[in-house]
Amino acid sequence: MAQIFPRWSNQTPRLITLGALVGLSATVFALYWWASPYHTDVGYAPKQPVPYSHALHAGELKMDCRYCHVGVEQGPHAGVPPTQTCMNCHKQVKPESENLKLVRESWTTDKSIEWVRIHKLPDYAYFNHSAHMGVGVGDKRAAIGCETCHGRIDTMEVVRQVQPLSMSWCIDCHSNPGPNLRPVENITTMGWSADMAWQEQQKQIAATLNPPGSLSGAQKFVDGHMQTYATAGCSGCHR
């Protein structure tokens, strides 16, 4: 009697198992990716109540970020400006514009404009803008630029989140802050890049931020050596 099933069918269970495994892994990965900050947060660009354009104000008009975001060097939050800041100029500039209707309304009714939050950290993670606006002492002083985390704001009509703000993203920079350091006077400069001299400087400053040999649970074995990281403890961000 002839065989009903051809010989290759012996492989079927294996193929099914393999397929199932691959399928399962793919599903897990897809779900993981789908739920990760890389998917959920990067690119988030909600519509704001007032169609404010950073591309116009920061890009074309070259206003400094700190004209509006005054808290950035003084406190944890850079802050969204009060209506008064808008009205400083817009009492004169385009005072009748349809786009500014909500701003004028806020000004007369004394009610806040309800801006939509874009960058949001979990409640148990503490971030302080002012701590990143200047580290190191004397000639070893440097800062992280706005651009490093917030991207080319000067080109955005509608602001979107460009970095995942995940813990691993934070830790990456804290492990190796050198490349992201820039002179304090260039904090708000968009499109800034380090020249050769500064690249050397970066290394030296980074070395002062990572004192060797301290006790830490956050030491890592890298390239045959134990290395300590800029803010190694948990309690810097988790209090």
Binding site: W34, A35, T40, D41, Y44, P46, V70, G71, E73, Q74, G75, P76, H77, G79, V80, P81, P82, T83, Q84, S106, W107, D110, K111, S112, I113, E114, W115, V116, R117, K120, P122, D123, Y124, A125, Y126, N128, S130, A131, M133, G134, V135, V137, G138, R141, P211, G213, S214, L215, S216, G217, A218, T228, A232, G233, C234, S235, G236, H238, R239
Partner: protein
């Protein structure tokens, strides 16, 4: 037989411990001793009576449902940012702002700094520039911020207990008070506290015919009347503790309550900071005679038990021994111990003329206060350590009881309208006054922050603004005035007290700010610039009471003393004393932080009881047996003068043999937190103060259980044993243990000043292992003494550490409450405390030693030690608790999965676990005996309740959820804040100056018992203290190398009395 290495450390205790936490511990009661080793010291109880299997079923279902919930939404809810329209100056979102203010009390204002986060007051701290605070604060001032957010504050006036509109009140007030104003206030009486602040007092004087009655159970009533008796009308005594060498405290708790107690405590703490043998000279010797056991008594070098009724005898005997014959006349007999005590004390006071102080407490009648002043004057202390000031008017003042009695008589006849400000007489006036009956005869208006018993029954209750919500001013005991500024607008539309008063007395201006300005600007404060300076500093310069010639009126005093009869209590005619615990006279009963704060001595929380001495308990056959750390207690009936109250009993060593003592502030009938907790002590009181004589106790045969934490978190190991030189050699060899290579060392170490002077403090280190200690620092700057134990750790940069001075700790609990406020620590409720689940990060262990009836007591604050070899760290399966580079044992809440292995492995028992979602639901208790939280649900709207309470939270500290372990972080948020501030200023964040970081506990501490800083900087205060010979580690034998170490207590004993 070989010992099983895994057997509990202690099968049975063979000897009584030298230091013991409770009578049961002393007697080695199994239920106490075994609980020290057990994981669940108080047993396992699931809320609602679920068993383990049910819990697993529910957990399984929850996981399934939880995974479904995950599918719903990936992105977080959108969230708005609402900026200001016009942003105030100086305001940076996320940065806190500090405002100077002051809190008026009957015994003088306490200067405070209020921390505001985004406009919310979140914490109060002492104002260093204010003489009555000096930067320290007490449990009361710390708790005021939660009172501000009390969810039960009235949203509108209450007319006969039901909500009414402010307009209705205004219409009523216009008509009713219009008539009274026209009559110059005839028929009107105000019931107010002793001192209400300059503006309030100014307005009170506006209607000359209106009666002003001073009533405040917390007022230093007898002290004021006593000073007046001794020195003339308007006199007030001030004490300079820092100048003193010998202090005698008769029934007084001058370190934790009463006028300027924070300043007294600061001076006392400084005198106890003995770091070299030469320092012994500056130590104050403290004598105490009392029937209750107070924080003064537990810190006294010599304490003798008296009943309050014998106080006059003790002081007269002292006068006699000092050769002041006319003052000593007519004194009664003392017992042997008291005689010996008085003889020793008299000799000491005579040897320290001009540097002695006699403090007399409020339980003693005014004549005894005056007698103490006379003795002080005879010893030359008046003018040196005691100074006298006079009010400008020098008006004679009646005692409060007399004022209240006169008012009650006049009510319904001369007085037709009574307005009470910030008082709760329906609860806090002693029952014998029958205040409520008299109040029914008049139009009774109650104005207060909380309605309380009085407000809901009065004709009108008017919600007033809390002092953090309104403009005002306040006067300290020294007469120095402060401005009070609002940190937030009135939350529920309450009106400032001074605005209401202005309305009542017909002042056309009712704005609180303008009223205060009218008092000061152009008078005490020259101009706007001076106004701003006064606001900033927290004090108004140029204010104060004027000093006066202090002539003692001996004839008046002896005449007054003739009217005071000494009483000696016995078994059938006991002395009942109502004392003030954390809840004070009841004004803080609804503040859950204080309700859950264990009493300094009895460690009772969510309960009060009649405290009886062990000897009396034996005589009356009262037993309290301990079961799983809860006390089964006999209920007795207290009867006196036709009043009788049933109350549970609690045996507390050290109470006067025939004194029975009960805390005030319990047995309330109003308040979500306060209702149904404990028994009201004021129900027993007569009209003469907080002491009642001739009380009889009858056993009812009923029993109840009591909630006391005195046996909670016992440190395993039979180590609670005093070590002195003499016993050092006799330390039993081979005491059974599995400790690492060492004999158990004593937890608490102490010596007398003489021993300390003789050997420079070796007692603290004797028996510790020298090889285990290394010298810190480079060879060049080696310290003379050893600082830290050896570790493999190299000390780089800042290394945080703490030292707690056991000589200075009073056990007042200010640190604990400050910690709660700073670190968002939840309140768990009575039933959970009974299970040993209280969440306090810093607890104060109270130990007794010596005779069970006349013990010594000591206080030992315990918090996370931040061990270098932390036993909690290796057992964490998820590395949620790890060391950081500055030696902190950090706790990452978001990583914690709640295995509780760390808490089990912690030898100090300082880790706290969120068994339930305490943060959102745990701030109240439900009816006694009800399982929590399920049956309280119907009565309590948690969300509504948390709406205001959550405004108190510190935004810099994570709010923890169910299933997470937590513990002291050394206030890591403050360390980070200091580092970030240094970065902003361009300074090195790794080289913060000494004192840049102060944890909440150290900041609150009045005696400066807690010092925190960088131990790697040999010049820092903390490193210097660690080099002290008194420095020792707790559980040194475990080799965990704690960063928090203790300074052994040095007692300044009088050798004649030793």
């Amino acid at each position: 037989m070989k010992k099983d290495p895994y057997a509990p450390i202690r099968d049975s205790m063979t000897e009584a411990p030298e230091y013991w936490r409770s009578v049961e511990h002393k007697n080695a009661d199994d239920s106490v001793i075994k609980s020290y080793d057990a994981e669940f010291s108080n047993g396992i109880t699931m809320p609602g009576g679920y068993n383990r299997r049910d819990a697993l079923k529910i957990a399984g279902a929850s996981i399934a449902l939880g995974s479904l919930a995950g599918c719903e939404k990936v992105r977080r809810d959108p969230d708005e940012i609402l900026p200001f329209v016009r942003q105030p100056e100086q305001y940076v979102p996320g940065n806190k702002l500090m405002y100077a203010t002051a809190m008026q009390r009957s015994d003088g204002a306490v200067g405070l700094l209020a921390e505001a986060n985004e406009g919310r007051p979140t914490k109060l701290e002492g104002n260093p520039a204010h003489g009555a605070s000096l930067g320290a604060s007490d449990a009361w001032s710390q708790a005021e911020v939660l009172k501000l957010y009390d969810p039960q504050r009235a949203r509108s006036p209450l007319k006969a207990g039901t909500a009414a509109k402010w307009e209705e009140w205004d219409t009523f007030a216009k008509e009713h008070f219009g008539k009274l104003q026209a009559a110059q206030g005839a028929g009107l009486a105000f019931l107010v506290e002793e001192d209400m602040g300059p503006t309030f007092e100014r307005l009170l004087a506006k209607l000359p015919q209106a009666k002003v009655v001073r009533f405040d159970p917390l007022a230093p009533d007898h002290a004021i009347t006593g000073a007046q008796l001794a020195f003339g009308p308007g006199a007030r005594a001030h004490y300079n503790v820092s100048k003193s060498k010998v202090i005698f405290s008769l029934d007084s708790d001058f370190l934790s309550g009463g006028p300027e107690h924070l300043a007294h405590a600061r001076a006392f703490g400084q005198s106890r900071a003995v770091h070299t043998t030469a320092d012994v000279e500056k130590m104050i010797r403290l004598y105490a005679a009392e029937g209750v056991f107070s924080t003064v008594g537990s810190n006294a070098d010599h304490r003798v038990r008296i009943t309050s009724g014998e106080g006059i005898n003790v002081l007269k005997a002292l006068a006699g021994a000092l050769g002041l014959g006319e003052l000593a006349a007519g004194g009664g007999a003392l017992n042997d111990a008291q005689q010996k005590f008085v003889a020793g004390l008299a000799k000491d006071l005579a040897a320290h003329k001009g540097t002695g102080i006699i403090f007399v407490g409020e339980r003693q009648p005014p004549a005894v206060h005056a007698l103490a002043h006379a003795i002080d004057a005879a010893l030359g202390n008046v003018g040196s350590t005691v100074s006298v000031s006079f009010s400008d008017a020098r008006v004679a003042r009646l005692g409060q009881a007399a004022q209240l009695e006169a008012l009650i008589k006049a009510m319904g006849t001369e007085v037709t309208t009574l307005v009470a400000f910030e008082a709760n007489p329906f609860y806090s006036a002693p029952a014998a006054f029958k205040f409520a009956e008299a109040a029914a005869k008049v139009t009774f208006i109650h104005a207060g922050v909380l309605p309380e018993e009085t407000g809901v029954k009065a004709n009108w209750h008017l919600p007033t603004a809390h002092f953090l919500e309104a403009w005002g001013d306040a006067t300290a005991w020294s007469g120095i005035a402060s401005l009070v500024q609002p940190i937030i607008l009135p939350l529920h539309g309450g009106r400032p007290g001074i605005s209401l008063l202005a309305q009542l007395v017909g002042e056309p201006e009712t704005s609180d700010k303008k009223l205060v300005e009218a008092t000061w600007v152009g008078k005490g404060i020259a101009d706007t610039r001076a106004w701003r300076k006064a606001l900033h500093d927290g004090t108004i310069s140029g204010t104060g009471r004027s000093a006066g010639a202090a002539e003692v009126k001996t004839a008046d005093i002896t005449a007054a003393l003739g009217n005071v009869k000494a009483t000696t209590a016995n078994k059938d005619a006991l002395e009942f004393i109502a004392f003030d615990g954390h809840l004070k006279d009841g004004r803080l009963s609804n503040v859950s932080w204080l309700m859950e704060m264990p009493d300094s001595m009895s460690k009772l929380c969510w309960d009060n009881a009649l405290l009886v001495s062990p000897a009396l308990a034996k005589e009356l056959g009262i037993t309290s047996s301990v079961q799983k750390n809860n006390y089964t207690s006999d209920i007795v009936e207290i009867s006196v003068d036709g009043r009788s109250v049933k109350a549970p009993t609690f045996v507390l060593p050290g109470i006067g043999q025939y004194s029975v003592v009960m805390a005030r502030g319990f047995g309330r009938t109003w308040g979500d937190v306060a209702t149904n907790v404990g028994v009201s002590a004021t129900a027993v009181l007569g009209t003469t103060g907080t002491v009642v004589q001739g009380v009889k106790l009858t056993k009812t045969g009923e029993q109840t259980n009591l909630c006391s934490t005195q046996d909670h978190f016992g440190v395993p190991g039979n180590v609670v044993r005093e070590l002195t030189f003499a016993e050092q050699s006799a330390e039993p060899a081979g005491a059974a243990s599995r400790h690492i290579g060492l004999e158990p060392r004593p937890l608490f170490r102490s010596a007398t000043a003489k021993q300390y002077a003789a050997d420079g403090g070796k007692f603290a280190r004797e028996g510790d292992v020298p090889a285990n200690l290394v010298q810190l620092g480079t060879p060049k700057n080696k310290p003379a003494k050893l600082i830290q134990p050896t570790t493999e750790i190299t000390y780089e940069g800042q290394q945080w550490g703490m030292v707690i001075d056991l000589s200075a700790c009073l056990g007042c609990n200010a640190c604990s409450v400050a910690c709660i406020a700073e670190n968002n620590i939840p309140v768990v409720g009575r039933d959970q405390v009974m299970l040993g689940r209280e969440m306090h990060w810093i607890r104060i262990d109270r130990y007794f030693s010596g005779d069970v009836d006349q013990p010594r007591a000591i206080h030992q604050p315990l918090t996370c030690m931040h061990c270098e070899n932390a036993p909690c760290e290796p057992v964490c399966p998820v590395s949620a608790t790890v060391h950081d580079e500055e030696g902190l044992n950090s706790m990452a809440y978001n990583r914690c999965i709640g295995t509780r292995y760390c808490a089990n492995n912690c030898p100090y028992k300082v880790r706290r676990y969120n068994y339930l979602d305490f943060t959102h639901t745990g701030d109240f208790m439900v009816e006694k005996g009800q399982p929590w939280p399920f049956k309280g649900e119907k009565d309590m709207d948690w969300k509504e309740r948390m709406k205001t309470l959550k405004l108190q939270r510190n935004p810099d500290v994570t709010v923890r959820y169910r299933g997470v372990m937590e513990k002291c972080t050394f206030c890591t948020q403050r360390i980070e804040e200091a580092k970030i501030a240094a970065k902003r200023a361009g300074q090195d964040r790794k080289k913060l100056p000494d004192g840049a970081v102060t944890p909440a506990c150290a900041q609150a501490c009045a005696t400066q018992a807690i010092t925190f800083g960088n131990i790697n900087d040999l010049e820092s205060r903390v490193a210097k203290l660690k080099q002290s010979e008194r420095n020792y580690e707790l559980l040194q034998e475990l080799n965990v190398r704690p960063r928090t170490t203790y300074l052994a207590r040095v007692r300044n004993e009088n050798e004649e009395l030793a």
